[in-house]
Each structure stands twice: as C-alpha cells, then as structure tokens.
Subunit: 348 residues, 4 copies
C-alpha cells in the first residue's frame, strides 16, 4: 500500500470529538492523506493546540472550510452539528469529492420526517434522494457507489445491529420492541454546559429524551426497511458516567417458536461475513469494545417469559461515528474494508 | 426524645456495607442505643478499624454474635448474607427481641419459591409464616406488629414502588412489564472478586443475571399481591460504575385509556401521605437521592406508543437496605416514621 | 433547643456548590432559621428548581439580594465569587447582621497583598482591619467576637492544619515546605467550561496554577503568623477526577532532632481539644472524610531522609467551605461548636 | 516488512494487565509472531477467555510455560510477579532466546540492594551482572546488545525521565528532590483485594508506601548513575481513581542560576532525538498520553521560590511497562525503534 498514490481527504470540523477521532484514525490510515482539517472558530491554530494529545503527531494548521471548495479531494468528512452540515452538503454537492456526513441531516427517509423530529427546516431536500445510510453491515453495496453517505447515529448503530437479524426475518412482534440504551458522556458533545459538567455526570445516571429522542425514528426506519413493515420502537436513552461506550438492551417478543440455539444461529448466520460484529455467548461490557470498531452482541431468549433480550455494545465515537465513517470510506474507495480499523479494544 | 429511655439494638454483621450504613444511621438516631455490633471474623477489633471513616465516632469493640443470645434487646438487625441469616433467625426466634433481617431469606412467599430461585435449602420454613415484607409504603400496618421483618431487596424496592400505583389499580397489562435496572457497585457487596475489581467496573457497564436474577420473583410476588393477579416481569439488572444508586426504568402497556395528567394523579394520590416518595415532573438521577432515604419517581406516558415508562431512583444502600430497615424499626417501635432519616441527598 | 427562639440567617448566592451545601447544613441546624436565600440570576425560582435534590425539602423561593439590606438577621453568609463579595461586605458593613464571607476577598493581610495575587483592585480596603480568618482550630477566640469572618480557602484549610503544629513550635525549615495538593472537581465551581467538562476531568489528572495559585499566599501568611517568621511555600494544586475531597501531601525538613513518636505527640497535643481534627496512624483517603466536617491528618517522619510528610484530608465543600462557615457561626452565636455538624463521613 | 521472516516471541504470564497489553501490541506488530502465550493457572483456555476484548482477535490457546524451554524463540517476555520471575530468568539463561523481564527482579544494582528493599532472598544473583536497565532514552546502546533486559518500573520511568536532563548535568541539589507521584489503579495489578475493590478506589484518593516504596531506590540508582553522585529521593506514591496513567510531580532546588528558557533548552536538547518524549509548554494530563508510548514532560522554574517543578505523564501500562518492553525489543532486534508503537493517545 505504501507505494501507491494516496487518496486525498479533508476533515471539516475539527473541534469536536468525532473530528478528533477521525484525525486519529485517518492519520494512521495507510491509503489516505489528510489534505485539510478545517475549523472556522480555530482557523490558524494547530490541530494539536485544540487536541493536545496530538502534539508532535498532527500539528497541521487548521484552515477555513473555504479551502475545500475547489480542492482536488476524493473524500470529504463532515464532522459538524446537524443543521449546519446540510449547508455544506448543498454547497459541495456539485464537486468531484464524495461526502461522508457524520451529522443527522440526511439519515432519514424524507425531509418531512426530518422536520418533524428535528424541528428544523431542511434547506437541501434534494439530498435525500442520493444519500445512502452508511451502515456497512446492511448497505455495503449501495455505500460503494454512493456520493453522499449519511453516517448513522451512535444509538441507531447499536440498536439496529442488535435487532437486524430478527427483523430481516420478520421474527419479532413489531409493537413489542423496547430499547433501553445507555451512552457515555461523549455522546453529548464537546460543548461545555450543565449537561456535560463533571459534577452532574460523575456518580450520576439518568434518562433523557424520553419518548422524543431523534434516534428513535432512525431506528424505526431502518428496522422497518428490513422487515418491510412499520416498526414502533420504545427507545429510552440514558447518560452513563463514562467517556465512551453505548450499551443497548433491546427487548422483543418473538413471532412463533424460539429457543436459544435457534436464536444464536440466526445471529451468527446474519453476521457470518461481517468482520466487525462479534456474537457473544455472554453479555458484553462497553469496555470490551472501547477504542475499537467492534459491535458485540449477545442474543438471549428467556424461556420463562418467551422474550428475546439482545444486548449490544459499541464505542459511540468509533463504530458509532468515526470508525464507521472510515469503514464507509474504505468501501467507497474500493479498499479492503478492515484497512486502518485494526485497533484492538483498549482494556482496562 | 433525648430524655427518654432509649431502645436497645444490636447490629449483627459489621463488615459489609449495610452493616456500616446501619451503624451510621443508628449512631445518630435519637431514640436508640447500639448495644452490640458483632462480627465473627473481626471479633475484638474496633468498628473503626474496619470502617476508618468512623474513627473517633464509633470505636466500639466488635463482639461475637454469641453475646446477643441472651441480651435484653428491643431490635436486632441482621446484616448478613442470605443462607446465613436464616440460621440466626431460627436461633433468635424465641427471644424477646424483634428481628429485622436485611438478607433475602424471608422475603418470598414460601420456602418452595425460595429454594427454586436461591437454589438452596431453607432451614427455617416456619419463619415464612410470620415474616412481613418490610416495604413501609405498602405494608406499614403489618410492619408495626411484626416480630420478623424481611427487609426488601434494593432492586425490588425501586421496582415495586415504581409500578405499585398502577398494579394496585390493575391498570397495566401484566405480561407487558419490562424493568431495565441499573445499580451502583456497592450492590455487589464488600467482597473482593473480579466482579468488584476497579478495572472491571470503572468506565465499564454491563448486564448480568439476565433472566435469572432472584429479585425478579420478589418483584413479581409483591406486584401480584397488589393486583391480585400473577404478574410476569422481565427484569434485567446492569452494573453502573458508581458507588451508590439504583435507577429502574420500567415499561408497561396500560389497560384502557391513559394520559399524562391521569398518570401523574394516580401516582400522587397513591403516595400522598408517604413522606419519602417524591413524584417528579422530570426524570430523576441517582445523585438526586444519594445518601438519603428518598425514592424519586417520574411516571411518563408516551402517547405515540401508548406505553408507560416509570423511572425510579433510590440509594441502594439506604432506601434499598439500611434506611429502609431503620424506617421499619421506627414503625415497630411506635416512633415517628421520619425519625433519624432526615438526611438530605448529598449532591454533588 | 427546638423550643428556643431561632437565630435568623440568610444565604446570599444560591446557585453554587457552597450555597447549596450551606442550605443543606443550615436547614437541618437546630438553632437557626433560613430567612432568605438569594440569587440575582434565578430570582423567583424555587431553590429546589436549581438543586433538584432538595425537592420537597427546601422549596423556598429565591429572592433578590435587595431583601437582606434591611432585614433583621443575625448572620449573613456570602456564597459569592471573589471580587463580587467585597461589594456586599461594603454595603452590609453598617448593618446589625454579622457576616461570614466564603470568598477570598478578606482572607489576606492587606489590600496590597490581595491586589498582587488576585490582580484586581479591592474596593473595600477598610474591611481588612476587622476581618478575622475563620479557621476555628487556630482563631476561635477572635472568631467569637468577630463581625466579619473571612472563611478560609479549601486548600489552605487542609494545608495549614497539616503543618500548624510544627510551625507553631517553629520546628521546620521555613524554606523547605512543599505542599502537593489534589482537589476534587467541585473546587472548580459550578460554571460550565472546558475545565469542568466531564471528558476533560474523568480518567484524567493534571496540575494547574503552578507557582501562581492564590491559595499559596494564604497558606504562607497563616503559617507565618504561627511561627512569627516569613514562610515560603511551594504549593502545587492538581485536579482529581472525583466530586469532593482535598488531599494535601506536605513535605518539610525538621529543625533539630525528630522521631515518629515525638511527631505524633506534637500533633495530638496541638489538636487535643479540637473535635474535628483526627490524627491518624495511617494515611487517610478523601473518602474517609467525605460529607463530613473532619480534617484527618497523618504525620510521618521518614528516618532515611529526615523529612516530615504530613498528609491531610478534608471535604473541600464542607471543612473547606460550608461546614467551616457553620462552625464559625456556631462560635459567633455562642452555640456548642459541634451543633449541626455531626455528619458521619459518607463511605462508600 | 510483511514479506520478511518474522521474529518468534513468547509471552510468559498471560493473566495480568501487562501480559494483556503485550499481547495487544505484539499481535499488531509487523515484525513478530507470537508463538506462545503461557499461563500455569489458565492452561488450556483461550487467551480471549481471560481477556474478552480479544474475542476473534487472539483466541490462541494458553500453554504451560514448559513449552518455551526448548522453543526456537528470539525474545521471551516475562510478565510475572517479582520473586517468581527470577526463577524463569535463571532457568532460561542458557537458552538462545533473549529475555525482557517486566518484573522488578533485576532492576537494581545488586542482589544486596534487592534484598534490602524487596525483603526477599534473590535466587539468581549472577543475573545482575548481565541485566541492562531497559530505559531506551538512557541506555539504548546497551539495550541493543543485551540478553537480559530489566524493564523499568512504571513510577521510575516517569520519575527518571522527568529529572534526567538535570541530573545528567549535575544541576540540582541532590538532597532536595521530592517526587510526589500518582498512579491509576492498574498499577496495583489484576488481583482482587480490598486495595483494588471499586468502592475503595472510586471517588477516593490516598497515599501509600510512604517512605518505603521499592521504586524509590530504583529512581535513586538511575539518577545517581547519571550524576555520578548518590541521590536521595523523597518518593510518595498515591492511588488515583482512574484505570491508567502516572503523573509525577518532581520538585528540586537548582544548583546555580536558573531561568525558564534555560530550563526548557536543557530538556529539549537532552531529548532532541528521542521520539517518545514530548517537552510541553504547559502541564500535561495523564489523558494526553493514555494508550500511547509517550512520556510528556513540563519543566517549570518558579522564580519566586527558586525551585524547579518537573511534571511528567505516562501510561503506566505502556511506557511504564508493555510498550517500553516492545521498545526494548525493537532495539534488541535491530528494528526501527518506533515499529509497532505508533498508537496515538486515546482521548477522550
């Protein structure tokens, strides 16, 4: 690989956690070169001024996003808040570069659904036609040809992978799904606020967005696509006093007969050739996947109650954001899908 | 109060967290005197040698439990593991002293159910006849007259209080109940093991006892008593990387029409004269109750899915163990129920 | 106590951690009544809206600080940032009420020193004449008669108590003192900022204010008062990923002969009648004092190096702020000094 | 590299944190093959049974250490407790394979010093003659030729690197050195005990081994070698409630004139060609190096007190153990020293 021409990429939005994780993965990726990292608010500073762990590793100067407008780039990563990202997608849509958008702006099936759940007008409805939902385990073929990837949300990644084998076979009662999800604090973003204040998070635990979280509809749509039926999901996110990790505990009633062996086989078959999904025999912890691109799943059938409990764990900043984006990039560029994603979970 | 004769109490089992919390509450309680604290393995040491935070406060010598056999005591607290506690209850059952057992040995409706879920033979089946389930919000009158209190488990306390108003009115579908519960590490006890090793807990989060946790049947029995119907509960505990606190997120389908106002009124009416249950308008965090005897509950009706989500928070070592035992003692001794339980949650 | 007239107090500044801890202690204090709690930015809200742990316990309405100007109060607590507090002290100095100022505005020996270390002009230099440094273990007699208490800083409380027995006897080389101190995050205050963002604190640890922290001069002045010699202290604070607690590790070279027995005796004699200082035989942890007014000290003489290492632990929000203020109030009002300060450390 | 024959290595001792981190680094290292991983107590299990994060990545079967006795290995890593490691070194000393011992058994200058500080008889005193102290920044040339590496302790690595530039130039008063060090809990090892119980570590902080910690003499010897003078170090370790990281705050009085520019230049010159030491302009946090092989140092001169404060940060499991061992291996095998050590710190 080292001898080949590298692909040119840019990271738009350097100050957040996903920007920083993209930079970490891509600066070690053997097939790409980071041409630009942009930040409007920190233009002129070094990347390592913002993220001191990169001192001596990535001291590249942050540029205004204007520089990417006519650059000769292969892939542009947008690590921006929703609502702002759509502006960039619109502006950049005529360029040669293909776009991986890490925001929520193009994940849903239509601008109408977007506006209902995000309570914000969408300025680039045309984008929805071409956007591909970038979950490689489900949509690899479409991703390869896409020019606009809507990189999935962190909760949806864990939740959809947790139930996809069952919905794809139409094996659960569609109104019985409860997903009780828990995320590390980095899911709340880099902005300082009472929500992210240490003393409100540490030694604490609470639910939020009950009944209204935007990831609900993203999960419902993707599960619905698999089963070809409308799916209603009760999704409740909670905030964990840890930096990284999502654990989703999903409950569903099976249609028809079920047993543990059958259940395990369904999951193993479904993910047989997916290198980053690991089916476990016991419940995973979030530290089993931290710092890696893995999604670990433990499917369990409770004979007493005849209910399925499927527990999945990911690193919200990686499989839930940055490494998923790199995985998508690998597919788009015709690279081996594992390239640059070999990190082994960091534990303890 | 200070001028009256104090009641004589003993704490059997000093080395664990509940023993230490009982000592903390009872040493400041205005109506009692701690006559004995016992520990077989630490006999002869000071209590503050085991629990250094008590230096200069409670330097009482730990005694063998033999001393309590013929003591003139009013209340004996058993802070012992299940399986061991029943021995003491049997031996002490002829004495004058009334017993508050913090273990799980007498919480269930029969020795048969106990043996099925605890996989252990019960050596004192007669105890079940007289034991009263010590949840003051439900059984205050029986508690006052009881000679043997089975102090509830931590998860059941949070779970039962969270759903009791609805089951008492038979307002939920009994097979729709999912309780996704999360506990701080002290719930796993003081014993050093891989489970309690810092590096397995810190920055981690995982489910355990899926489908098999003993608290499941305790919850089912108590909810069933309220509704007069068998109740099937899907109960999944998880381990939080915090010291204290339980958050239980309970899901259930309502029978008949529901709305948010109606739901809140049901809860407020049910707990109208219960000083330690606080009905909230927003989701509580475990830090809102830490170090206190409160149980905070947020009942929510999701119109979109027609499902009720009731979230409750307690301090597992207090409302889930030690302060609940003191509350029971207050009732048994004819004291004002709040006596000695005025601690305001410690936050941050 | 309950039948006597209660003293009237006010808390000015409700939104921070010290305001909230004062409210917690004072609402349970048997000899006082909280007449007013003020907050300019949250006027009209309930106290429990700001601090949800107080729901049903302290739902008092927050008032503008204007109300205290002509109130009939015995004690006013100022829980305000430095620089703002001096305004209030100036305005209130003619009133009957005595003031306990929890800020740093009147802790130093002169406005000149203040201005050098705080880099801010002092608007009420006259205040310094009457202000008493409110460390009860050193200045109880002056505190009883004072009308303006400068409540000590958190680091100085731990640091001064750790070395006071030795400096009072002039037994250490005054240029050999190194104090390496570590504080929980609440020391950084309630304001959301990158410093207090969970992801910058959790799993992290770093030094700050190296060579320049304002508490340095406060420690130097108080130790200098005891020894009657100028004392130069190398003070380095660090930020711990915990909510509460300060541990100060102080190093000093003894003058003359030293041994462990002699060292312990010096400490035990010095604090013989001080109920809240506990001299330990082993190193304390911050959790041994959390939630309490205790200061635990372990003095150690290293024979090999002939150096003294004195380790002290306090709860920065209590002995380092709010409970210290209540202790001062008790002395000022002629109450038993332990009144309302009986909390046993909350551990685990 | 991929096309060349790989070097054969073995990891003896799989159950601890250093064994697991060695496996993580070496399984991704381009120039080596892990022939054996051994564990007496877990023989026959898979490596991923012990360390579930390795599921599907390193499922290699654990073998008895007997297998390495006549294997054709290039390097053997001993990840064993001190006292046990020396047995293996003795037995293996006649083999072809070169040894990197991660224990403390051969770090000191003589068996006599070892026995004084470790209070244990040494069974292989001959080993000291050939053992090389494996700190690559100081001893790279010796390491390249060595057949037995004594891999440095975690605290000594941070402490020695923090002061080496000054002692090498004989610029500090040798009796003025105080090192106040703080380590994450993984430094205490994988064994379950009260010390490693979550509830004793979380939200806590305390000193231990005051005046007696074995790393003291290791630091003193290495600094003494550099300055050619006996050096007396006051070393106090503390336990941080985090998984990984050491921060060492070192204090020393300069000999002769000092200023900040001069100080920085000394450090930059000394580490000019050392790729893993980063000299910072502000204080590093442990999260700035977590998961990486970096040692970050901030040297500061306090003009007011004329004292130097040098703050260093490492990941105790990596630069303080496993990655240092890999660095030594690279030197021994004639590889580029950065090979396999490119990990960027994982933050947040």
């Amino acid at each position: 690989m080292q001898n080949h021409k590298k692909f040119n990429i840019a990271i738009v939005g350097a100050s957040g956690f996903t920007g920083s994780e993209l930079a970490r993965l891509l600066s070690l990726h053997p097939a790409v070169k980071i041409n630009h990292i942009t930040s409007e608010s920190h233009e002129g500073k070094k990347f390592s001024d913002l993220h001191p762990q990169f001192l001596g590793i990535l001291d590249q100067t942050l540029e205004s996003s204007k520089v990417i407008k006519n650059s000769d780039l292969d892939i542009i990563f947008l690590a921006l808040p929703h609502g702002i990202s759509m502006d960039f997608v619109k502006t950049l849509s005529e360029q040669k570069a293909r776009i991986i958008d890490l925001s929520g702006d193009f994940r849903l099936e239509s601008p109408e659904v977007y506006e209902a759940w995000y309570q914000k007008q969408h300025i680039f409805p045309e984008g929805f036609k071409n956007a591909v939902y970038g979950l490689p385990e489900l949509h690899a073929e479409k991703i390869k040809k896409s020019r606009l990837i809507a990189n999935p949300g962190c909760y949806p990644t864990a939740s959809i992978l947790s139930l996809a084998p069952l919905t794809a076979l139409d094996m659960i009662e569609t109104d019985s799904v409860v997903i009780d999800a828990k995320s590390g604090l980095t899911g709340a973003g880099v902005k300082a606020s009472p929500t992210t204040h240490f003393s409100n998070v540490n030694e604490n635990f609470k639910a939020y967005g009950i009944g209204t979280h935007r990831h609900t509809v993203e999960i419902e749509e993707q599960l619905g696509l698999l089963s070809n039926k409308p799916t209603l999901v009760q999704f409740t996110p909670h905030l964990l006093p840890v930096d990284r990790g999502i654990l989703a505990t999903a409950y569903a009633k099976p249609k028809g007969e079920m047993d543990q062996n059958k259940l395990e086989k369904i999951y193993e078959d479904f993910y047989a050739d997916k290198p980053f999904v690991r089916i476990r025999k016991t419940a995973p912890g979030i530290k089993d996947v931290r710092g890696s691109h893995y999604c670990d799943i433990f499917p369990f059938w409770d004979e007493r109650t005849n209910r399925i409990i499927s527990i999945s764990a990911i690193d919200n900043l990686l499989k839930g954001a940055a490494s998923q984006a790199v995985h998508n990039m690998n597919l788009m560029l015709g690279l081996e899908e594992q390239t640059g994603l070999e990190q082994i979970p960091l534990r303890p």
